[in-house]
């Protein structure tokens, strides 16, 4: 699964990609944000210190969801008025990618999907707005303004924007989950499910003192 190693244009450290479609990664040693161009890597910025974080997940954590193995290869930390949450970037063993959101240890799995013809506009969507996609009837359950607090590892797009973005979370009575990401125009749609910790059969998690 690993692509051939390149070297960090900033410090020369080896940089490996675990997912061939990754567009961006971070250098583990000098914290440079590196974007993959045709031939080589280009430094586009530097990660500032990440906020203290108590997610049990880390880059390299493995898991299995519905008989499909995945490994965590990247992460975006979002900051909003009540703290932070993590969007972990997963690559599955069939080379598709997806996301695992961890907000105060409430977990949601999602995948980018083709939105139906009409997504509610950012100034239209409110708490309770219904939305129909892929035969699921969602209701909007939260609207969050957040910005990137940090990135880590491999991501499927080039991400380094500090301004506030709008996210709408939508849910169904049976645990289906969707996020509309208004950072792009047209907005992006991610759909998936709320999951329990045990549903994901994790390996290589972080350890917490007193909780072995």
């Amino acid at each position: 699964m690993s692509a051939p190693a390149a070297n960090c244009p900033n410090c020369g450290a080896p940089v490996t990609f675990r997912w061939s479609s990754a567009v961006q990664t971070t250098c583990e040693f000098c914290h440079s944000i590196l974007v993959r161009t045709d031939m080589n890597l280009e430094k586009v910025g530097e990660v500032s210190d990440l906020p203290p974080d108590a997610s049990p997940i880390q880059i390299g954590t493995e898991g299995i969801y519905q008989n499909k193995a995945f490994v965590v290869i990247g992460r975006i930390i979002y900051e909003y008025e009540q703290g932070y949450w993590n969007e972990w970037h997963l690559v599955y063993n069939d080379s598709t990618n997806g996301w695992l959101s961890d907000a105060q240890l409430e977990y949601d799995l999602s995948w980018q999907t083709q939105p139906p013809a009409h997504l509610p506009a950012s100034d239209e969507i409110k708490w309770g707005t219904p939305f129909q996609s892929n035969s699921k009837s969602y209701l909007t359950t939260s609207l969050t303004k957040a910005h990137y607090k940090g990135v880590q590892g491999e991501l499927p797009f080039q991400y380094w924007n500090k301004s506030d973005l709008l996210f709408a979370d939508l849910r169904t009575p049976t645990g289906d989950f969707a996020t509309i990401d208004y950072s792009e125009d047209p907005p992006l749609l991610f759909e998936g499910r709320a999951v329990e910790f045990d549903d994901l059969h994790f390996k290589n998690l972080r350890l917490f003192e007193g909780w072995s």
Partner: protein, 437 residues
Amino acid sequence: MASSIVTPPIVRPKSLNCPGCGAAVEIRGFAHTLNAVCPNCLSVLDATTPEFQILQRFQRKERIQPKIPLGTRAKLANIAYQVIGFQQREVQTGDDVFCWDEYLLFNPYYGFRYLTEYQGHWNVVRVLSALPLEVASGGKPAVEFQGRRYRHFDSLQARTNYILGEFPWQIRVGDSVDDRDFVSPPYMLSAESTAGEITWSLAEYTPGKQIWTAFQLPGSPPATSGVFANQPSPYEGKPGSAWRTWLWLTVALVAIALLFSVSSSNREVFQNTYLFTPGLKTDAAFVTPAFELTGRTSNVEIAVRTDLNNNWAYFNFALINEDTGQDFDFGREVSYYRDGDGSEGSPHDSVIVPRVPAGKYYLRVEPEMESRMLQSMSYQLTVRRDVPTHTFFWIAGILLLIPPIFISVRAAGFEAARWRESDYAPAPSSGGGGDDD
């Protein structure tokens, strides 16, 4: 220099000192903790900054000791949790203030759970990531979730009046949320709304004993008082099964009664017709010829059919065993009156003498009538052996009704006590009113 990108192998809890009083403040929720309360001076501190800035100071004359101390661990559904936060909340209804306790439980992998306690009633609570569907049930609000229908119980404003420990959200004494509760015992769904967003949580009623065992607490849990909103009824399903049992027993009883009717020999052992004219003789008593009563000890029916019309007669009977002299004495009044409006009484009557042993018997009969009427009466006496009777079965049938009625009344009483605490309580007939138990 600590690397922020390479994650340290083990995450350690931190302990900091209160900038107000210098006391040590333990942080058990790692970086999840946003606010922590100094256990010494009751300052609410911002746990996300190194300065541990004071956000609020609240003072209370009386310190509250949580029934489950902070730091206590328990296994719930096989997952270990630690108590890291405590808040007491209150709701004001009229002049009354009701308080309950909420414990925040934490596991670094499985996340947060809550434990609530009100008057000895405990609930284990978790936040839902699925969305209950709001429906109206007969005009009353209800929600549906995972195949269960929850009835609206109450809507209230909950205010935080005391906090201890740490929280993964911003918290201050005086915070208040609007809460709506929906019940389907042993579950309760609660919708807490703040700033236009609703958080749903699912509570499961858990007996205090179970909590005490899970947390390995000394002594015994506080006694419960009253009926809690989602407390499972001890009569749950019992009226239905009691009535089903009643139905089967009644069917069996009817079957036995029919069997009895069929197996009764119901033999006529004597019949004769007599004429009686009052005032003719001073002593009207006579005896019948003897007749044989055979078979097992059983009943004997003596039936009188008269031609009385707007008149009455009284019969003194004695059924006498010719060999032993054992006698069964009884009397019967027969009266029959009728006019244009209808009739009263009957010209016929019968009496059943129970448990008469086999043997040779005769009847002693003494009819009486009002003598001045000078109207004679013709009557026929029939004696039957072993007739089917249903008295026992009627009594048994009534007795069988007692358990299902009793259970139904108790079950209804429990539900009435539950809903007395809801928004749907009948208006109190007297002011105030304490709970009787």
